[in-house]
Symmetry: C2
Subunit: 435 residues, 2 copies
């Protein structure tokens, strides 16, 4: 990190407090902001987010200027073009960031929802009511829009967010966060509800994973596998994340062939780089001629590399042999592993062994097989006769998501604004005492 | 640990595997059992638990014999009488253990509940459906009945349990676990669904807190403050627990006096050793004559020591002065800290500063004050005009609880069988692809 890349929003580390104190102070401010936010009505959160979106629009020039600096550094550092594309903003993308904030502002307030209500024989009325979680730490890499998406989702759920941007997107993220802070302040919300860690120092991530003396309730990593792996290994606070999406589609002999072709091509090829993209196709033995052959042909003709076991290769000479580690591999590319399995039980075993408990689908007309698959596959998302690319909070109707979790505690599947809440019990009595 | 206390169920550590391997093997078996349990119908879980309860009844003599050995050691070690009472069983208590298992067997199956259901504009039907969590680790101290309660609750929720008994209750807990395992096996359920760690070696706790290579999904400590503190500090997996119950009751001038007297006495004195027992009484300044004086008198006359601030002491010469650390102190005894506060805001500030976010109550006839208290106090359980001793899963109608959690993720408040479940998303389509 050279002095040349320091921006006005970055802390001058020589003059400022040491990193642990800096981070601790961020935690304390986040906790205070969270307390205020927890008691803020939905309308005021909404107004704050709309003001933040407007401020982002108005800061377009500054944001693009900072983004140009980030991009120039990333190019100079020889970053690949996919990386540069994730980092790059233009006026349309800045407008998209503002629109995403506005979409989140339009969601129903998840706080205060009565999740359950029961009356006890003694007349006590017990309600389980949604509350914010508190403080959410978000660690992300190159996409600057995460600042806005994650910050807005946390805030709508009444949580304060501590955001840690990747070094390459630091100036862009800082400019977006500064604009949002201005908007929040103008609407009377605590700007500390959204704090971007004001340094590229990588040690800041380690401190966040330690929880900042109890100031952080949950950590959400947004980025590649190595980031998620580090966060899951080191975090001393709960993590909402998934490491991979080893997504399977199982097709049996009763599946409607046209439907299966549409769904398999969509699941694999609509976008190959997302976690819901299919990585393996399993076909029942008695569907080799009827289904496997046309599916492999369609995949290859659509530009997908097929890596098959012997039975799969037998139906099409263009298929290549699958290596042993192609089972359970996340290609994130136009490549699919294809295997013939001895029916549903073998498919379930394969998914149990090689899957990542993210998203898996069955294509069948047999309702018994469908129900068994939906029941027995232990993944966050299981589908019958639909594309695995629906594994997305927006497609679930959640408005927006901060990611997809494969853990089993609190949040699982797409993490939207509701999953960013906790709850408490509210008891109303008329003087009841316990016998 | 001397050779003399080794029982048939305890691993002969000299001959057996090293502790890390032993614990890892327990984790692997628990994970396998959890997979089987996750797919076990409610009726079969119920039958297994009823068989386990019956086996406990039939093993009464063995259980009592082992308990006598534990008790003799504890007496020889000079354990206090409260400790011995928690440890001691008699035929009535053994029957109580069996009945508790039967009560849990009678709960509705929490697995498979459809928690939410929505149809998307494209016709996809999305259901959020309850699943087990997986493997629950329970670390407990002297009460041998935790073996049965915790094991049965985990099992009814489809989870495998790894139970670690305190050294003093080890033989009793082993006898109960052995009986339950027999019952489960007789009913065709995997006995590894309930494993008691077969050694008193304290290192086993540390290994469990490390998660046993990912085999444990959540840890639940059951015992005193030092146990919970250690678990919260060291666990690398999520923990459902509370450290203290610093429970407040706030009374304002509009509270019905007779009701307030009943509720305050019940909240403090019904049982002083439970986490829902009140530890501090806050009274509004304008209620000193009308409410504070009779409440302090009633408490003292009921045998409770009152430790008050100057204003509280002024109403009754028998009140003693509160020390600064009496605010925020969990007496777990017939002692209460009493303070006069300048109205609702001051009460909220006091609770925010000294409370433990467990359970707090307001006694008032003012609906606005009541709603503000219920909304603004950030505790797992907040009550209006009812005793804080209702902070209990049984009183909530949960049938049984494994403890009370003050964390904000996944479980909060009483942790019953529903809070021991996770969920997944089940999507049913007719060939939908994502545009």
């Amino acid at each position: 990190m050279s002095a040349a890349v320091t921006t006005p929003t970055e802390v001058a580390r020589d003059a400022g407090p040491a990193l642990p104190e800096l981070m601790r102070a961020i935690g304390v401010r986040a906790r205070q902001a969270a307390r205020a936010l927890a008691l803020t009505a939905g309308e005021r959160k909404r107004a704050g987010l709309l003001a933040a979106a407007q401020a982002v629009r108005e800061a377009e020039r500054t944001i693009l200027a900072q983004n140009a600096l980030d991009l120039a550094d990333a190019k100079a550092a020889g970053r690949p073009s996919a990386f540069l594309d994730r980092l790059a903003l233009d006026p349309g993308r800045v407008a998209g960031i503002a629109e995403a904030i506005e979409t989140i502002a339009g969601l129903p307030d998840p706080v205060g929802r009565v999740l359950a209500r029961f009356e006890r024989p003694n007349g006590l009325i017990i309600e389980r009511v949604a509350t914010p979680i508190g403080v959410v730490g978000v660690v992300f890499e190159s996409r600057p829009n995460v600042t806005a998406d994650a910050g807005a989702l946390c805030l709508m759920a009444g949580n304060a967010a501590i955001l840690r941007a990747g070094a390459e997107t630091f100036r862009t993220a800082s400019a977006i966060a500064a604009a949002m802070n201005q908007g929040l302040a103008a609407a009377g919300l605590p700007p500390d509800a959204l704090q971007l860690v004001p340094t590229r120092d990588r040690e800041a991530v380690g401190l966040m994973l330690g929880g900042l003396d109890g100031a952080i309730d949950v950590i959400i990593p947004r980025g590649g596998r190595s980031l998620v792996e580090r966060v899951q290994a080191e975090a001393r606070v709960p993590v909402f994340a998934h490491l991979d999406g080893i997504v399977h589609v199982y097709v049996d002999a009763t599946a409607d062939l046209a439907m299966a072709q549409d769904v398999v091509l969509n699941a694999k090829l609509r976008r190959t780089g997302i976690c819901g993209a299919a990585e393996a196709l399993l076909v029942a033995e008695d569907a080799v001629t009827t289904h496997l052959a046309p599916l492999v042909r369609a995949l290859i003709e659509a530009g997908c590399e097929v890596r098959g076991d012997a039975a799969a290769r037998a139906v099409d000479p263009r298929a290549r042999p699958a290596a042993p580690d192609d089972w359970g591999r996340e290609f994130l590319d136009a490549i699919i592993a294809v295997r013939v399995v001895d029916g549903l039980d073998a498919a379930l075993d394969h998914i149990d062994r090689y899957g990542s408990r993210h998203t898996d689908a069955i294509l069948t007309s047999d309702p018994v097989a469908a129900e068994r698959f939906l029941h027995e596959v232990d993944s966050a998302i299981v589908l019958h006769n639909a594309s695995t690319q629906f594994a997305d909070g927006g497609e679930f109707g959640f408005g927006a998501e901060i990611g997809i979790a494969t853990g089993r505690l609190h949040a699982r599947g797409p993490v939207g604004v509701e999953q960013l809440t906790s709850f408490k019990y509210r008891l109303r009595g008329t003087g009841q005492t316990r016998p």
